[in-house]
C-alpha cells in the first residue's frame, strides 16, 4: 500500500524534498520501522533520520508516538519537535 510521506524543517532540508510516495514492505509495522527503512533511501535520508530521538510524527495529520502502527495511513509526516509561536 502506497503512503505519502511528508517532511518538515531540517528533516525536509536534509532529505531534499517535502514529500514522497513510498510503498513499504510488509514487515514495516510502526512509524519507527518506517523511519528505519526510509533511512536507506539516500544519503540525505540517512542524515535526516539518523537520530530517532530528535524526530516526531503524525499519521493522517494526527500527532502520534513513534511506536504507533502505520495501519491504513494515507499520509505520514516526519519532523523535528515543533518550535512555533
Amino acid at each position: 500500500m502506497a503512503i505519502n510521506v511528508l517532511y518538515f524543517a531540517w528533516v525536509r532540508e536534509a532529505i531534499g524534498m517535502g514529500t514522497e510516495r513510498v510503498q513499504p514492505p510488509a514487515h514495516i509495522v510502526t512509524i519507527a520501522d518506517l523511519i528505519d527503512w526510509l533511512r536507506g533511501s539516500s544519503e540525505g535520508h540517512g542524515r535526516a533520520l539518523a537520530d530517532i530521538a530528535r524526530l516526531r510524527a503524525a499519521i493522517d495529520q494526527r500527532f502520534v508516538a513513534l511506536d504507533t502502527p502505520i495501519g491504513n495511513a494515507h499520509e505520514i509526516a516526519i519532523f523535528p519537535p515543533v518550535t512555533g509561536g
Partner: protein
C-alpha cells in the same frame, strides 16, 4: 467565536483585537509574539504543516472556549519569512470576567508552542542560518495546564 488564521500576511493587530471585542465581553486578553531584534537575527522563517496546523489550533481554541467559557478565541499565526520586530503570532481571548480571558490566553500561547506544527529557522545578519531547537521551558509551560 473562534478565529484561526495561518498566513504569510502581516498581522493587523488593531483589526484582530477589534474582532475579539465581542458584545457581552467584560475582559479581553491578548498575547503578541514578536521577532526579537536583539540576537543578530536578520530574518525569521516559519514553516508549518498545512492542514494539521489549523486543525491543531482549532482544537486548542475549542478546549479553551469550553474550559473558560470564552465568548471569543482568536489565534493568528504568521508563516514564511519575517523581519525583527514583526509579529509572529497573535492570541486573543474574550470572556465575561477577566480571569477567564487572561488564563485562557496564557493557556493558548503555551500549548501552541508545544502542540502546533510550526518550525522556526533563523537567518543571522552574517548569513548563517539554523533551525531553532525546541525548548524544555516550553514543555514546562505547557505542562502546567494539564
Amino acid at each position: 467565536m473562534i478565529r484561526i488564521v495561518v498566513s504569510p500576511a502581516p498581522i493587523d493587530l488593531a483589526a484582530e483585537l477589534a474582532r475579539v471585542e465581542v458584545p457581552g465581553a467584560g475582559g479581553v486578553a491578548s498575547f503578541t509574539g514578536l521577532v526579537r531584534a536583539d540576537d543578530g537575527i536578520a530574518t525569521l522563517e516559519l514553516e508549518h504543516y498545512p492542514g494539521a496546523t489549523e486543525a491543531t489550533l482549532e482544537a486548542l481554541a475549542q478546549v479553551a472556549c469550553v474550559r473558560w467559557g470564552l465568548l471569543a478565541a482568536s489565534i493568528v499565526h504568521r508563516v514564511g519569512p519575517m523581519a525583527p520586530g514583526e509579529r509572529v503570532v497573535f492570541v486573543g481571548t474574550a470572556a465575561v470576567h477577566r480571569a477567564a480571558a487572561l488564563d485562557a490566553c496564557a493557556f493558548l500561547i503555551d500549548r501552541l508552542k508545544t502542540d502546533a506544527p510550526f518550525w522556526k529557522r533563523e537567518v543571522k545578519v552574517d548569513g548563517r542560518a539554523h533551525w531553532v531547537d525546541a525548548r524544555a521551558s516550553d514543555e514546562d509551560a505547557a505542562a502546567r495546564w494539564r
